[in-house]
């Protein structure tokens, strides 16, 4: 009987947390099962969207950190 892959299986596969055997079976299912493939594509799209939403902190916050790091290292050495 063919194994049906759940959404948790997809999440584990995408985040490389499947065992090698599970990953192999999942890869096979990606080729042969449209439902698995569409679940996988949606997850990949979401991951790439997540990478796009990163925000930058203000330069003044960064400067404060760098000043502190410089002072602290000098004190420590």
């Amino acid at each position: 009987m063919k194994r049906r892959f759940t959404q948790i299986d997809t999440i584990k596969f995408v985040y490389e947390e499947s065992s090698p055997m599970q990953a192999k079976m999942y890869m096979k299912s990606l080729d042969n099962n449209d439902k698995t493939f569409s679940c996988f594509s949606e997850m990949i799209d979401l991951m790439s969207d997540m990478d796009d939403v990163l925000l930058e902190p203000s330069q003044s916050s960064v400067d404060k950190i760098l000043v502190y790091a410089k002072k602290s290292r000098k004190v420590a050495s």
Binding site: Q7, I11, Y15, E17, M50, V53, L66, K70, R73, S77
Partner: protein, 200 residues
């Protein structure tokens, strides 16, 4: 940046032996992930700026006191510190930017009500990145936590489960609900966007 090809461990060593630029490279490497994680967790930009500084100051203190144990996992380590700083802040200020829900509770309608106004209008007016941020911010705290830890901090589900005191299956389940909620919300908002652009 000149040192940007160096590993985290090399940069740390360089910093401790007098190269401040190496520390700047480390900050440059992780600032947006740390800042975004805190912002999405706390939903307040000014607070996120302050807490991000606190995270890096803690990092400096630990390094200069010789207490940093280098296991080659700085990203996970620093994002874990960011998470702890957020939790400490919430405890101290009794500010819980989340509502507790059963783990198996699908929150789409509640999320929709919350995110509807800002996310829909943002989608129409600006771009999908802004809207997605808004959707992530409106996820229940536990789902948001797992999503940010797994995606930005590269923490394994086992590590997340240990850190948050839940079972591995619960951590995976929370991720599944987070993914489902986001996907459904994206669909709902995309529809609203298309209807606005191309009314029947």
């Amino acid at each position: 940046m000149k040192n940007s090809h160096l590993s985290d461990s090399q940069l740390i060593q360089n910093y401790l032996t007098g190269c401040d630029k190496s520390f700047a490279v480390l900050v440059h490497r992780y600032k947006s992930k740390v800042f975004s994680s805190i912002y999405l967790m706390m939903r307040d930009k000014d607070l996120a700026e302050d807490l991000m500084q606190e995270v890096f100051i803690k990092f400096v203190d630990i390094l200069t006191k010789g207490n940093y144990k280098d296991e080659g996992k700085l990203k996970a380590w620093i994002l874990r510190v960011a998470h702890n700083v957020c939790i400490d802040y919430m405890r101290k200020n009794e500010r819980l930017p989340f509502y507790k829900m059963p783990d198996n509770y699908e929150t789409v309608s509640e999320l929709h009500k919350q995110a509807e106004k800002d996310a829909e209008s943002l989608l129409i007016q600006e771009d999908t990145r802004v809207a997605l941020r808004s959707l992530i911010k409106n996820l229940p705290f536990e789902q948001r936590q797992v999503l940010l830890m797994r995606h930005y901090a590269d923490m394994s589900f086992k590590e997340i489960a240990d850190l948050t005191g839940v079972s591995l299956n619960t951590a995976l389940g929370r991720m599944r609900y987070a993914v489902n909620n986001l996907r459904k919300q994206i669909e709902v908002n995309k529809l609203a966007y298309e209807e606005t652009l191309y009314p029947n």
